[in-house]
C-alpha cells in the first residue's frame, strides 16, 4: 500500500514540470500563437535557475530568475512572430535549437556543482495522514502551484471578460481587431506569460526535481508538453490529467522494472505520443470537432492592416 502512495507521489512530481510547461503553452495556443520553442525555453530557464540558486542559495529567486529568462526569450520570439509575422513553426524550432546550444554553453561552469538547498517539503499537518499524506502532501510547493494554476486558468479563460477576449483573439483575430481589441499586444502578453510558465517548469527540473545541471537535461520534456496540449484539446483540466498520465507512464515503467516485471522500455516511452496521435486523429475526423476544440487561428499570422 505504501508503494502505491509513493508511486502516486512520484507521478505528481514527474508530471508537474510537464503540467506547468503545457499550461504555459496552452495560454500561448489559446491566443493563436504556437510556440515550438518550449524545449529551448525550458533549457534556458533550467540553467539560469540553477546558476542563480548556486549563487544565492534561494530557491524562490531561482524560480523568479528562470521565469524571467524564459520570458525574455519569449519576448524576442513574440516580436519575431507577432510583429514581423515570421513563420511561427520555424521560429519556434529556431528558439528550441538556440536554447539547447545557449544553455549548454552558459552551463559549462555549472555542471557538477552542488546546490545545498533543503529539498524535503511536506504540508505541515496533512503530511502525516496515513496513505493520503504520503501520496499527496509531501511534495515540493510547485506541485500545488500546478494544480492551483490549472484551476486559475480554467476560471480565467472561461469566466472572465479578459479570458473571453483572449479566446476570441485565438479564434478570429480579425473579428477581435475589428471590435477594437489590441490583438498584437494581447498576443504578446500571452506569449510572455506562457514563456514565463515554461521557465518555471524548466527551473523545477534543475532546482527541485534533480538538483543538478547537465546539458540537455530537459531531455525532450518541452516536446512532450507540446504534444500534451494537443492531447488535452486545449483545456487546463485535461492538461493536468494528461501531464500526470505522461509523467506516470515513466514512473510506472521504472516501478514495474523494480518489481521484476519487464515491459519493453521503448514501448512505454512511446505510449504518450501514440495517445496524442490517436487524439489528433479522432478530433480531426469531423471538421466540426476541430472547430470545437482547436483555436482557429493557431499558427496563422495576423495582419492588422488588411
Amino acid at each position: 500500500m505504501n508503494e502505491l502512495a509513493l508511486l502516486v507521489a512520484a507521478t505528481l512530481a514527474a508530471g508537474t514540470p510537464l503540467a506547468l510547461a503545457a499550461l504555459g503553452l496552452l495560454v500561448n495556443e489559446r491566443v493563436g500563437v504556437i510556440n515550438l520553442g518550449a524545449e529551448g525555453l525550458m533549457l534556458i530557464s533550467a540553467v539560469t535557475g540553477f546558476a542563480v540558486a548556486v549563487h544565492t542559495r534561494s530557491p524562490w529567486l531561482a524560480f523568479a530568475a528562470g521565469a524571467a529568462s524564459a520570458a525574455l526569450v519569449a519576448v524576442a520570439f513574440g516580436w519575431l512572430v507577432i510583429w514581423l509575422n515570421a513563420n511561427q513553426y520555424a521560429t519556434g524550432l529556431a528558439v528550441s535549437l538556440f536554447g539547447g546550444g545557449f544553455s549548454a554553453f552558459v552551463g559549462v561552469g555549472y555542471v557538477g556543482r552542488r546546490l545545498g538547498i533543503e529539498l524535503n517539503y511536506a504540508v505541515p499537518g496533512l503530511g502525516r495522514i496515513p496513505f493520503l499524506g504520503a501520496a499527496l502532501f509531501r511534495e515540493h510547493p510547485v506541485v500545488y502551484l500546478a494544480v492551483a494554476l490549472c484551476i486559475f486558468l480554467s476560471w480565467f479563460f472561461w469566466r472572465t471578460r479578459t479570458g473571453l477576449v483572449l479566446r476570441a483573439i485565438g479564434e478570429s483575430p480579425d473579428a477581435a481587431h475589428a471590435l477594437g481589441y489590441r490583438v498584437r499586444r494581447a498576443r504578446l502578453a500571452a506569449v510572455v506569460a506562457g514563456g514565463a510558465l515554461c521557465g518555471v517548469a524548466g527551473t523545477v527540473l534543475s532546482v527541485a526535481y534533480t538538483p543538478l545541471w547537465v546539458e540537455g537535461m530537459v531531455a525532450g520534456r518541452g516536446w512532450i508538453a507540446l504534444a500534451l496540449t494537443v492531447f488535452a484539446t486545449w483545456r487546463p483540466g485535461r492538461v493536468l490529467l494528461g501531464a500526470y498520465l505522461f509523467g506516470g507512464v515513466t514512473m510506472l515503467q521504472l516501478t514495474l522494472q523494480a518489481q521484476g516485471v519487464h515491459l519493453p522500455a521503448e514501448f512505454m516511452s512511446m505510449l504518450p505520443y501514440l495517445a496524442t496521435v490517436l487524439v489528433l486523429v479522432l478530433i480531426s475526423r469531423n471538421p466540426a470537432w476541430i472547430r470545437l476544440n482547436m483555436p482557429s487561428s493557431l499558427g496563422k499570422p495576423f495582419f492588422p492592416t488588411q
Partner: protein, 381 residues
Amino acid sequence: MNAPSFFKTLTMGALIASTAFFGCQKKEEPKPEPAAAPAPAEPPKLEPLKAAWMYVGPVGDAGWTYAHDLGRKGVEAKYGDKVKTSYVESVPEGADAERVIRDLVSQGNKIIFATSFGYMDSMEKVAKDFPDVYFEHATGYKTLPNLRTYEGRFYEPAYLAGIVAGGMTKTNILGFVASFPIPEVLRNINAYTLGAQSVNPKVKTKVVWVSTWFDPPKETEAAQSLMNEGADVLLQNTDSTAVLQAAEKNGKYAFGWDSDMSAFAPKAHLGSCLLHWEVYYNKAIGDVLDKTWQTGQFKWGIKEGANDFVKMSDAIPENVRKKVEEAKQFLIANPGAVFRGPIKDNTGKEVLAKDQVGDDKFKAEMAFLVNGVEGKIPTSK
C-alpha cells in the same frame, strides 16, 4: 521606409550583430597549444608528446568523465613538459566520434584515449588509417597492432561495496541503477550482490535499467522507484551523483561510483568505488616515451592501484570494516577473483561449480544475473 520594413531591417541587423558577437567568443574545447618555439642560439627542445582524451560526458559530471580528467591531470603532473595534453568532452558515441578522432589525429596527437565502450568501432576504423598513432580504448575488446584496450576491474570495488551494503541494509533489499545490459554492468551487479551475500545471505537485489550512462533526472526517478520498493542501499553504474543525492533525500544509503562523491551526500554516502586512471595513463604515456608500447588488453584492479574503495563512512560498524579489509587483501593477492564457485544464476542454473574461479573469458562473456538478483536481463528485440 515604412514602419514594418524599418523594424524588419533593424531586427535583421541586430540578429546578425549578435550572431557575430557570440560566434567570436572563446570556444569551450581547449585546443592543444602549439609547442614552444625554441629560443635563438639554443638547441631546439624536444617536442612534447601530444596526447588527447575523448570523453563521453562533461568533465564536471563528478563521475566517470571527471575521474578520467583527473587521470589526465595526473599525467600532466608527472610528465610536465614532456607531454602536452588536451581533451574533447561530451562527444556522442557514433559517427560524430569518428570525426572527432580524425580531428585529434590531424592536430598532431600521437596517442589518443577514448573513454567509452561505444567508441569502439570508430576507434578501430581510424586506427586502421593511421598505423603510426597509438589508440587506447577504455572498456572495449577490439585490438589492433596500434589499438589496445584498458579497463579497471570495476567489479572488485563493487564487491567491497556489496559487503558494506550487506552489513548496513535493514530491509535486506538492495537497489542497483543499471545503464545497459552489457557484461561489464552485469559483472558489477553480480559482484555487488555476491559481496552482500557473503555477509548477509538473505539479501536480494532489485535492478532498474535506465538505458543511458548519464541522465540525472532519469537516474533520480529510477532511484526513487527502487526506494519505493523497499531498497535501502543503492549502487549505480551511471555517471552522475543523482542516485546518491536521491538516497540522501530519502534517508537511505548509497555509494559513489567512478569518483569520490562523499561531498554530495554527507549522510547517505557509505563509500566510493573509484578508479585512479592516472595510474594507467602514466604507464601508457611512459610506454610511448620509452618506445615500449605494445598492444594488449589491460585489466587493472585494486592490486595495481587502479581501482579503490574509499571514504568509508563512519556509520559502518567495525566488523563490516574488517570484512572489507579482508576482502581487499584477498583481492590484492588474487586479482580479479571475485566470482568463486559455487554460483547459481537467478533461474537456478549453476554457472560456476564449487571451487572454480571465474576466469577472464567467464567474466567477459557474462550474460546472467546471480541468484538473489530479481528480474531478467532486458533484451533488445
